[in-house]
Structure formats: structure tokens, C-alpha cells
Amino acid sequence: MTNNPISRRNFLGLAAGAAGAAALAACGSDGPSTSGGGTTTGGGGGAASYWSLSGPPGQPYRQAAIDRFNKANSGSKITPLFFQNDAYKQKIKTALGANEGPTMIWGWGGGGLKEYVGSNLVEDLTDWFGQNAAVKDKILSSSFGAATVNGKIYALPIETVQPIVLFYNKKVFERVGAEPPKSWGDIMALVPKFNAAKVAPFSLAGQSRWTNMMWLEFLLDRTAGSEVFDRVFAGEKGAWSDPAVLDMLTKIQDLVKANGFQKGFSSTTADSNADQALLYTGKAAMMLHGSWSYGIQAAQGGNFVKDGGLGWMNFPAVEGGKGDPSNTVGNPGQYLSISSKATAEAKDVAKKFFSTTLVDDEEKAGWVKSGGVPVLKGSESLFTGADAQFLKDMSSIASGAKVFAQSWDQALSPTAAETLLDNIAKLFQLQVSPQQWVDSMNGVIGK
């Protein structure tokens, strides 16, 4: 009847065999190491579980801490799992939503933590810190802000402080004969100078939105101080209508219109590090970015950093602005919370981890090696080698800041943050007017 190369019988046989083998393999992989679901340790045979971000620079040091703890506490081990940044955000949400989360929840504090608190998912650690004052003392006090909700502490600050910094390419400045800016006026004056020399004044990864946000954060702070955003954060109605906000938004659009950013900045993404590449290849003169950029530029920029081509400074003041020029914004730390749904035993293991390994000297040394400033006090003596000056400066910015504000998209609730990022993108695209921006943001205050 037909001319099948494979006869029906053989095909069915193959299919059945394949399906059977697949089924067997799938069952076989349901081995002893899987949790099988339903346990609140969230996976693995250890006494407590810990989920965090994978990849450089942090994973090796997180793993090292876990290993140190497990070696010293062989009876009650911690099982770590690492996920990529975005994947982690997705995973932790679905896991918590299905009551399958880990014992220790890694996060960015602020609005996200507030949501966990609102859903009773994390332990109140205030009393524990009261009893373990020594632990609290080892950590920079400014880092606790983002761990506190309604006056109570719900997370342990860990890892590094990451202020946002204005980086600049010293070689480009020399070539054009310009001085690093000391005020907003200087910045606007430098823009045409660099454009004439065919160098982008500022490098910006416009597609990634949060990179644009850094500009708003600093400008608003320098113009009006940190009180305006505090009012927003506190949920005050119409808090965005402060005239300083309109002023700040207009300044930003002026900068965009003056070609302050590289051509095609809306297509440049941060994850490929293209924006940083613009700086270290000399195609851009300055860049506002997180302190972690130093490590990336040192690693990927060839000899740029080693030869002293990279300069850095805190964001300059705005003339007539009310903000304290020592203020900074960024990540005052990363945060580790304890799941309230974990077993008592798991919680104890976590607390032990908090009070011993996470505040010990190796932890401090490890994070310095990663190129960051630890949240643990007293790390200045460890700043040696080529990166010493940078780390020292970062440390003094972080500890000297009158206010170390948290990034807006972390401080606000995810709902409001999403609207914020949306509006910021449109602002930089010149698709909304400052007034429209304010109205839209006022609409999500307190959400």
C-alpha cells in the first residue's frame, strides 16, 4: 500500500521502547538527593537550605562560607543552591508561593523584604539581634536600614556595600583638556566639549532601565535631599509632586537633548557590559555605575585600570541644591532572611550560621578579594594591593555618607517599582513630560 522506509510495527516498537526508556530514566533520576516536594527545607538532605545568586563575583565566596560552616558543623549542614539573577527572582517567588522555599532567603531588602514581612514569610530577628549585640556591632549600621520594616529587623546584612559612583576615563579627559566635574553646571559644560571631540560624554545602558534610574536618584537627592523620596517611601499621597522632582526630571531631559549620552544609548544593555566597555575603550568619558563596575573593568578592560586610566568620584553637587553632597545611593548591602515556615531545627542552624561564619574574618577577607567593601566593619586594613585606593574610597563614601539610600526599585514595592522603571524608560526616550511622569508615579504611591 505505501512505501514506508520504517514499517509501522518497527516504528511503534521504537516508540514504545523510547517512551519506556525515558520513563525509566525519569524515574531513575528521582534519586535520594531530591526532596520529593512538601518539605520546608526546600530541597536536599541537609539540615537547612540556602539559595542565592550564581556566577561571579559572589558565588565562590558564598560557597566558601557554606563550606566553612559545614566543616565546623558536620552534624547540621547547609545545602546551597545557586541560580542566575533573573532566574532566582522567578524561582524564589514560585517556591515561596507554593510553600517550598529555602530556610535562608537571600534578597535585596527594602520593598521586596517588606512584601515577605507582609505575608508573614520571614522571621522577626529584632530580639535575636538584641540578644546577640556582638553580631550586630560587627556590621555597618547604615546597612540595617534596608533590613528594617516597621521598626523591626527581618534580615541580616551580608556581603558588600555597593554605592553608585561616577567613573571617568582619565586619559580621555587629558586628551580633551578637561577637568572632572565638581557640580552639575560643570557637567552640562563638559557635554558639548566631549561631543565636539567625538567622545560620548556619558555612557549609559539605556535599555536596562535601572541604569537610568541611578541618574534620577542622585539628581533628586542632590537637589532636594533625601526627604522627598522618604515621603514617597512612607506612602504619603502626592509625594512626587514636590517641585524639586519636576526640576530634576527637566534637568535629565535637558541632558538627553544635549546628547549627553552615547548614540543609541536606548539599545545598549547593561548585562553585556557594553556600557562599561564604552568607558574603558575611550568611546565615552564618564559613566555613572555601581561600584562593582571597578572589578569588571579591571578584568575585562585589559590594562586600562592597571595603568591608572580609571578615575572615580562621588556624584557632584547641584548648585543651589539642598542635598548633602556626601549622600550616596546604591545597595547598602545584600540581605539574608530566615523563613518563618522552616522547622525549628533549620532556623537554629541558620542563626548559628549568621552569628558565626557570616561575620568572621575570612568572610571579610573573601569579599575584599572579590573587589568589594564588606558590610562588616573594620575591613580597611585588608585593603591592599592594586585595588587598595579604590576600596578605601568606596569605604569612606559608604561610611561617610550622611544618608546611604537604597536604590529606588529595591526600596519600593515591586508593583510601584515596575511602574517606576517603565516611566523612567519613557522619560529618557522623551516620550513623557515631567508632569506626566509625576502624575503616573503619584498613582502608585503606597501600592
Partner: protein, 295 residues
């Protein structure tokens, strides 16, 4: 009504008719020209991926992105393989095969039943329900699916990925297959019936071979989706030994940036075996797509 004759001869033979046709026509400029342009367009990104996989992260931005690297490095490939690539590959293979085979088979059975039993209200109802499932966005139902998997105690297994994948492949497969089966002339079924064949026999001995083009189409389409599926493995598995290839890509996305050369290496390694598979099996594939029910 067309009579049943042998279908197209196997592609290895070139029939006199075809040769005559080719000689009689002038060269197909439009088709040919466009195809070469398309080749360039299609291959450029592929070329980029391959050469980038041999670059290091530092010289990646400094050198021209379209030129081969001055110093080839296999470091990225080493990283990829060290990161458990082989296991991810096998996991992906198991999941794909394990999901496709049942999915296509039961979809075929359902499509056959729906077409043959066109009068039954029950079957009509089932068909409607399948149609409803055409546009279910995976991201929407992921949480309920997750909960079901947990209740079935299958979390963090490959089966957790396989089971929902089968379900999601069904609606479209049923749609395409039933359209195709409808094309089979009713007389063929009558003659099988007169020879005393049961519905079951008719299904496998008549409809199945005749529906081959649609089966192949549906298989490829679903296989690609499952092979590259990211959301289901992400949510339904967690231990490193249950991960599939799309998750492997995320290994190279650090906290602050993406290791593009490593990703390029990972993509190259993933694609190479399948390309080879396709190169070898292409004739079979094409003959499967060409089989028909009459000429």
C-alpha cells in the same frame, strides 16, 4: 476521484520527468538569488556565535566583533564542559524524547477519533476543550502546574518537565493532525472496513502512514519547543543534576554581567549534535514530509 497510486519515489532517484522539467525551465533567478541572500543573512549570526566562542571576555569588546580572534582560545569550551554540560545535554534529550513520543501518539489517536467519530457529541466536546488550550500561556498556568507537580511528589525530577510538556503539546498537535486526517478520502476507510479491519487497525495501518507529513511537522515543532523550553525546567526542577540545557545558558550570566563568549560556546556545543543529526536524517525527514496519499 483520484485513484490510489504509489506515492512519490524516494528522493535518491531523479525521475525523467523531473529532469526534463529542469531542463525546460530557465534558471530560477528570483528563488535562487533570494536564497543566496538569505543564506548570508541566516549564517551571519551563526558565524558570529562560532567565532565569539573562541574569544575571551576581555578582548571581546576591544576587537572587531566580526573578525575571528587573533588568539583562539578553547577556554570557553572547557568552562562549558566543566559545568556539567554533558549531563544537561542528556537531560534535555531524555525530556524531549520522553515528551514527544507520547504527545504525538496520543494526539494522533485523539485526532483520529475526533475526525472519525464526527457525529458524537462527546468527541465534539473534547475537541472544543482541546481548542481552548491552544493559547494557554505557559507563564500563566505555571503556578498551578507547579502545585500539581508538588502534590504528585514529582518535584525536581525530569518527569516533572515531561508531563506538562506533553499536555501543552496536545492542542496544537490535535488541531493540525485532525485537519490532515480529514483529508484522507473516505473511500479508503470504507475499503478497509470491508476487508474486516477494526477502527484500531484502520487507525494504525491506514491513517498513520498517510498522515506522516503532518506527524513529522508536529513532531519537529513540538520537539524544538520542548528542547528549548526554559520556564518549565526552571520552575519544576532545582538540583543541578536535573537541569536541562536552556538552564545551562544561565550559568554564564553572572550577577553583574553576561559571559558572552561562554554562552557562544555553550550554544555551539548544543547545536552541533543536532545539526549532525539533521544532516544525516534529512532524507528520511523529507521523505516523511513528502509521503502522501495518492498521486
Amino acid at each position: 476521484m483520484a485513484t490510489i497510486t504509489k506515492p512519490a519515489p524516494s528522493p535518491t532517484a531523479s525521475t525523467p520527468g523531473a529532469r526534463r522539467r529542469r531542463q525546460a525551465m530557465s534558471y530560477n533567478w528570483l528563488g535562487g538569488g533570494l536564497s543566496w541572500v538569505w543564506l548570508f543573512v541566516a549564517m551571519l549570526p551563526i558565524y558570529w556565535i562560532v567565532i565569539t566562542s573562541f574569544k575571551t571576555q576581555d578582548n571581546y569588546f576591544i576587537t572587531n566583533s566580526l573578525l575571528p580572534p587573533s588568539e583562539f582560545t578553547f577556554e570557553n569550551y572547557k568552562t562549558v564542559i566543566e559545568n556539567d554540560f554533558v549531563r544537561y545535554f542528556f537531560n534535555s534529550a531524555i525530556v524531549t524524547v520522553g515528551a514527544i513520543v507520547p504527545a504525538v501518539l496520543i494526539s494522533f489517536m485523539a485526532a483520529f477519533a475526533i475526525v472519525r467519530g464526527a457525529g458524537s457529541r462527546l468527541l465534539k466536546g473534547m475537541n472544543w476543550i482541546f481548542l481552548m488550550g491552544l493559547a494557554i500561556p505557559l507563564q500563566a498556568v505555571i503556578i498551578p502546574v507547579y502545585l500539581i507537580i508538588i502534590k504528585l511528589k514529582m518535584y525536581d525530577t525530569l518527569a516533572a518537565i515531561i508531563l506538562p510538556s506533553i499536555a501543552f503539546a496536545i492542542p496544537l498537535s490535535v488541531l493540525v493532525l485532525s485537519n490532515f486526517i480529514r483529508d484522507v478520502p473516505k473511500e479508503l476507510f470504507e475499503s478497509m472496513r470491508m476487508d474486516g479491519a477494526s477502527e484500531w487497525g484502520t487507525m494504525w495501518r491506514l491513517a498513520f502512514p498517510l498522515t506522516r507529513p503532518a506527524l513529522v511537522t508536529v513532531t519537529i515543532y513540538n520537539a524544538l519547543g520542548i528542547w528549548n523550553g526554559f520556564l518549565l525546567p526552571l520552575v519544576l526542577t532545582q538540583s543541578p543534576d536535573q537541569r536541562t540545557i536552556p538552564l545551562a545558558l544561565t550559568n554564564f550570566q553572572g550577577q553583574f554581567g553576561v559571559n558572552i563568549p561562554a554562552i557562544a560556546a555553550s550554544v555551539t556545543l548544543t547545536t552541533l549534535p543536532i545539526v549532525l543529526l539533521y544532516a544525516i536524517g534529512r532524507r528520511q525527514l523529507l521523505s516523511g514530509l513528502t509521503a502522501g496519499f495518492g498521486k
